[in-house]
């Protein structure tokens, strides 16, 4: 599929800032999510797209404001199917691009996608690697600090890819919660060598709940002094017709990084913003 990069509204999220375009009346896509879900509503059941995405102010050794995303959706599936997709995709990429060693590399550690992957829940990862309770961290507003300083470095120690799954629902604004547990969302992240490669989830298709979450994100943004973002109304009005689905976004630049065995994103692009 190919969808427009320039759109009137992205899905409003608390911590993602779109790049404004067309005299600030439209935005560059922060991900192709909104249009691709409308294609799911229109009956396209198995779709993918590789496209450029933009996020304002994101620049670091693992971030470029302009980057490449592989995004795919499956109707009639949940996030478990996407985990299997990830396994098959990474095994294929490693075998094709690295015929000799068939592994990925991150900070001199070889990561073998052909061996059984490690799966653990966010709650278990927090209690195991930081002796902290994830809910307690969220209440104190130190979730990101503990995750990046203690949990992610521990995930970097695995020589197989890691699936971190079952996120607190408040960290998954577009995901469905687990059946029977409204506190947890069917969301997962794929890590290779401690580097976050993909984010996938079972999709929420309740338009009222989705609107409530978008409005909540805007309230949080407003409290933090961030701009209120417009809601993607045509998406909300078709969402009720979206079949039960699962979707995932994978950072292509980062997949190239671990395939090439380089540790900074600057090494795999021809031009960094500072070169321009």
């Amino acid at each position: 599929m190919e969808t427009p990069l320039l759109i009137p509204a992205n899905a409003p999220e608390e911590h993602i800032n779109p790049v404004a375009a067309l005299s600030s009346s439209w935005q560059l896509q922060t991900s192709p999510e909104i249009c691709m879900k409308r294609l799911l509503c229109a009956g396209h059941n198995k779709i993918f797209q590789i496209s450029r995405c933009w996020r304002e102010g994101e620049r670091g050794t693992r971030h470029l404001s302009e980057f490449t995303m592989l995004e795919w959706y499956r109707a009639g599936c949940d996030y478990q199917t996407l985990m299997t997709d990830c396994e098959e995709l990474l095994q294929y990429v490693a075998a094709t691009c690295q015929p000799e060693r068939r592994t990925f590399m991150r900070q001199s550690v070889q990561i073998n996608p052909h061996a059984p992957w490690h799966r653990l829940t966010v709650q278990d990862a927090f209690s195991e690697y930081s002796q902290a309770d994830v809910w307690e961290c969220l209440r104190k507003g130190i979730y990101e600090e503990v995750l990046t300083a203690e949990v992610e470095p521990a995930l970097a120690g695995f020589d197989v890819p890691v699936i971190l799954m079952d996120y607190p629902a408040e960290l998954a604004a577009l995901a469905r919660t687990k059946p029977g547990n409204p506190l947890l969302a069917e969301r997962f992240e794929l890590y290779v060598g401690g580097l976050e490669l993909a984010n996938g989830f079972s999709e929420l298709n309740d338009p009222h709940e989705q609107r409530r979450r978008f409005e909540e994100a805007n309230r949080e943004r407003s409290t933090a002094g961030q701009k209120i973002l417009p809601l993607p109304e045509p998406f909300l009005s078709t969402l009720a017709s979206m079949p039960d689905s699962a979707g995932i976004a994978l950072g292509v630049d980062r997949l190239v990084m671990v395939t090439a065995g380089v540790d900074t994103i600057d090494e795999i692009v021809a031009f960094s913003p500072e070169d321009l």
């Binding site: 670091g60 050794t61 979730y143 984010n199």
Partner: protein, 202 residues
């Protein structure tokens, strides 16, 4: 820090920095001290809050500090100025320098000067780093000429195999010199390494 109570911080004319301005080489004020950002990274876990991870060096005592910031925080820029000054004299542990243009004097402690004190001969011109009115460091010329005030005679025919011997120069600094250097000779010292470089003839 006695005798150095004249710390005055100029800040209000310059705009504050935000976390988006953080990068290697930026100089900011933290807890009243100037810090140099020596390492910086932007981290943002999936869909989460962005974090700005920094490593900073205290420009007065050299200590390193790790700090992580969230967006929305702001920093006071540290305005630092480098001025050419002449070394005047030492009193106890205090070294006095003077700006030849304005006759303004600054005092620095031995601890702040570090190894630089080994090369300070009266009237030597150095670059003094000023934070407000406080001198926080100096840069020296790469080479200085200093006279040898004490060293042992080289015994001709010495077969011990030593190709250097200790020598004391007029600042009190002791270094290794070649055996042929004699008391009263002027030698060139590399201030970056503290090593003997060559002898000044005549």
């Amino acid at each position: 820090m006695e005798g150095l109570c004249c710390l005055k911080i100029h800040c209000c004319e310059e705009r504050m920095y935000t976390v988006a301005d953080l990068k290697k080489g930026l100089k900011i004020i933290l807890d009243g001290d100037p810090y140099l950002v020596v390492a910086f990274d932007f981290v943002k876990p999936g869909k989460g809050q962005a974090l700005y991870r920094t490593k900073m060096r205290n420009m007065i005592n050299g200590s390193l500090l790790d700090r992580t910031y969230r967006s929305g925080e702001s920093f006071e820029p540290a305005s630092l100025e480098e001025r050419t000054m002449e070394y005047l004299y030492k009193e106890g542990e205090h070294y006095t320098f003077m700006d030849q243009q304005t006759y303004e004097q600054v005092v620095m402690e031995e601890e702040t000067l570090g190894d630089a004190k080994n090369y300070l001969l009266e009237n030597l011109k150095v670059e003094v780093m000023l934070f407000g009115e406080k001198a926080i460091g100096i840069s020296l010329p790469n080479f200085v000429n200093l006279r040898v005030t004490a060293t042992e005679q080289w015994a001709k025919g010495d077969t011990s195999g030593n190709d250097s011997k200790p020598a004391t120069v007029e600042t009190g600094y002791v270094l290794r010199v070649p055996p042929f250097i004699e008391e009263g000779e002027l030698i060139v010292i590399d201030t970056r390494t503290g090593d003997y470089s060559t002898r000044v003839k005549g």
